[in-house]
Amino acid sequence: MNAWFRHSLMAFVAAIATAGAFALLSDATSSDARQHAATVAAFDSLSRVETSLDRDLLKVTASLLPHNDTLVEYAAELRSQLAGMGPGEVGRGALDDYRPGIDAKLAAVEQVKAVAAFVRMEAAYLPFAIDTLVASNPRAAAPLQRALLRLGPFQPLGNSDDSADLDPLLARLGEGGGAEARTIARHMQVLTEQRRLLRQAISAYFAIDCQSALAAARSRYMAAFAERQERGLLFLHALQVLALGLFGGLGWTISRLGDAHHAAEGTRRRLSDAVDSLREAFALFDYDQRLVVRNRVFDDLFPGPLAIAGFADLHAAMAAQGMTAAGGPKAWGADEAVCHQTATDRWYLFRSQPTAEGGLVCLLTDFTEHQRVEAQMRKLTAAVEQSPISVVITDAEAAIEYVNPRFTEQTGYLADEVAGRNPRMLQSGQVARETYDEMWRTLSAGLTWRGELINRKKSGELYWESAVISPVRDTGGRITNFIAMKEDVTLQKRNADLLIDANVDNERMLFAASHDLQEPVRTVLTYCQKLERQIAAADAEGMRESLAFIGEGARQTSLLIQGLTAYGRSSRPAAAFVPVECERVVRTVAARSDEAAAAVRIATTLPSVLGDPVLLVMLFQNLVDNAMKFRRPDTPLEIRITARAEDGGWRIDVADNGIGIEHQYLDGILTPFSRLHPRATHPGAGLGLASCLKIAKVHGGRLWLDSEPGQGTTVHLWLPSALSV
């Protein structure tokens, strides 16, 4: 467009130049023609005047013209005409040959005039003098009269000296006769001499050939003029061709202008449509701050007769519509201001932006809805942010986009750490692959998946979560996001396990209690019947023996009750957990007997865990008691306690150098009322390790055993760290 405009401009300039050239050419041609006519006339006039001069000079010499006035006029005319013919008009140097000729000719004219005047004088005087002489001396006058007749009239163009034969006669007359006659004869001699001189002067005059120089100059001028005409014609043709070309260009330009006009119309219409389709009120001001374009919304916003002609009116118009603006469109230039229309409680954002051509675009955006949505969004966001359920939002490729603070609390991962990563990072490896497959099948089908997963925290600790994962679809049905809402159900899980354990325990305890209690009770009953008979037989020895058995049965029963009580206490709720120093617990246990104090070694720093101090003391008490109970008689007892961080918690190993346990018994030993050794050698209710396991589970931990018979047993205890619970 720009290039096209430049071309058009050039064509326009060329057209003007051509028109100017035409005007100049025609002007030059007409002035040239005028000048040419004048020059040709001057040539003709020069030739004519020169001829006239020649003619009148002849007349003067022939005494046909008695005065020189015409000669003077012609000479002056020649001079003035020559002076009037500048070199420019006739062609430089064209008259150079002619001017000196004319100068010489005019000088010759003066010569001829002077001599001719003398001849004329003598011709006038001689008859007068002879007439006078005739009156006084006729005889003397007669030869003079004859001589005068013979002298005859002067022939200016005669080439023969007609008076040559008179010379001797005149010489004779000049010597004889009277003084007067001699004088007259002398004058005649002078006349003949002067006639000769005049003839010479005339032939000298006519020897000067000016006419041919003039004719040559004239033909040179005519040739130059013809050449100039030729050039002018050529130039004219060139101009005509150029003009034709320009007319073509003009046509092209007009057609292009038409196209451009249509295009501009179309553009304007499209612009108008586009602007009308805007939801914002749109106004465009030109560099004179006049309103040039506005849309329907703008008209709706400023209805009625209040016409906004320029930018200056805008502020007043907004005020009239009850829009109170914090900044307002006051200054010409980029601006942004929020306006509130109190009557309708609508909010507008005023924005202005300068355009490239120095105008200004003004937009008034109604963002009331936006504000409401935003408030809604804030509420929802707050709900999500503050939700006790951890929320994870991923994109369609399962890259994490958002996690709420609860997620961070739950997993230990900050939002920045997980952004863009796959939730797979949380997998513990303890969930069957089929579960995940099923989950993705469900989700891909666009359905909501519900399930439970074991995941791993940042700390390494495993936890159970109950997850609800739903796909989010856009309006086109395409899945854009997944939202997972997950709840940490580890505690519930643990509590459920504990409940199940408790039930099993209860059954087992009922059975064991009924079984284990029945035996001492039957013993007591048997020996009571025996005692009754022995009392009757007064068998003192037998009575003492029976009382001993009864006592033994009662003590057995008491031990069982004690164990049951302890086991029952081992399932206290987790709500009462407090930070507990394991080392202090161990030391407390060790301090209860000298044997224990001697045997227990704390090899590493023991951690602090969250738990029930009483249960933990019970746990370590049981372990230490077991170690002491199953010691090797020949070896001094040693209980070595170590701790190390593992799986986001602490593993505490309690190793002894006792008798050890056969491998086949390692699993069963943890169930209540199991015992490997006869009560006689190793007293106890068979509830020790079962209680320990139960306490570990209550704390969310695990307990397992390693043993080498004859070498010793190591009890492994894993507890969550105090921070992660």
């Binding site: 001079r79 003398f118 005087y125």
Partner: protein, 323 residues
């Protein structure tokens, strides 16, 4: 007899140049060597008026004491009656000031014809140290500061410059034509305009051959002629001066020694003293001197008186311009 000769000549020339036979002079105008004076047509009155003012304005001289009219006194025959004129500072010239009347008919200006036009002539006295003694820049500067500037703008459409000044003065001089003399009336057919003796004087003027040089409308002024055919040597009493070489000073040709412009005799009775030297005080003396110089004889007193009487008819003194 002269008529016969003339007719023969006329026939001869007519054969040579057919057109010549029918010119006004040859056919109708009689065969008198003197023609009546006619006012010059086509002179711009505005220029002439401006020229008249300049002609009389001493501002054109260096010290503002001398105007053109100081030496060319219009009511004294266009001359000043002095042998030689007096310019600024009382300085005197070398040759006699000729009359300004009928100068337009002269084939050239000055005694030696060194200026071809009236316009060129203006330069002479203006810059001659013994006349007005100034130069063009001075004159033009004075004119530019004077009321003349406006007049020049009106007449020439430009500020005063030398060509305009010259043109104005020349235009004025072209108006100084002494028409309406008794002799011209006689030429026009008014037979009683001249007395018998004046007519006789005219006849002698022709017979002595005076009219061969003093002819035309201005009775002279239209040719150059040697002063002294029959007598050599200068006419100046104190011996020749360079100016007495006449036209030789202009052309440099030996043949032009002692050649001068033939002066017009129209105002000869009003403009003594005579000749370029201004040493001849009376007209009679001048006529006698011409007879001796040009004809080699003494003209009898009776004839001199007649000729002088005739010369008196060539101008009407009452019709001369007054300043």
């Amino acid at each position: 007899m002269r008529g016969l000769v003339a007719m023969a000549m006329a026939t001869a020339v007519a054969v040579l140049s057919p057109r010549a036979a029918f010119t006004a002079d040859a056919v109708a105008g009689g065969h008198e060597p003197i023609r009546p004076l006619m006012a010059i047509a086509g002179v711009d009155p505005a220029k002439a008026e401006l020229g008249r003012r300049l002609f009389h304005d001493p501002m054109l001289s260096r010290d503002g004491t001398v105007s053109c009219a100081s030496c060319h006194v219009l009511d004294r025959g266009g001359s000043d009656g002095r042998p030689v004129s007096m310019g600024i500072d009382g300085r005197v010239g070398i040759v006699n000031a000729p009359t300004v009347y009928n100068a337009a008919f002269n084939l050239a200006q000055f005694w030696d014809g060194r200026a071809m036009t009236l316009e060129d002539q203006v330069n002479g006295p203006l810059t001659n140290a013994a006349e007005m003694g100034t130069d063009w820049p001075t004159v033009l500067e004075r004119l530019a500061r004077s009321p003349y500037a406006a007049a020049f703008r009106t007449v020439f459409g430009a500020e005063p410059d030398a060509p305009a000044v010259r043109a104005a003065i020349a235009a004025f001089e072209r108006t100084l034509i002494t028409t309406g003399s008794r002799f011209d009336r006689w030429l026009g057919g008014e037979a009683e305009a001249l007395s018998a003796s004046e007519k006789a004087g005219y006849a002698l003027f022709k017979s002595y051959g005076c009219a061969s040089c003093h002819q035309g409308a201005a009775v002279g002024g239209n040719m150059f002629q040697r002063l002294g055919f029959f007598a050599s040597g200068g006419i100046r009493a104190g011996g020749p001066l360079p100016a007495d070489l006449g036209r030789f000073n202009v052309t440099g040709r030996p043949a032009d020694r002692n050649v001068f412009k033939v002066p017009s005799l129209r105002l000869v009775t009003l403009t003594p003293p005579y000749f370029h030297t201004g040493e001849v005080a009376t007209l009679d003396e001048a006529i006698r001197l011409m007879g001796r110089l040009q004809l080699g004889r003494d003209i009898p007193d009776r004839d001199v008186a007649l000729i002088a009487a005739f010369l008196g008819t060539l101008v009407d003194p009452a019709a001369l311009a007054t300043p």
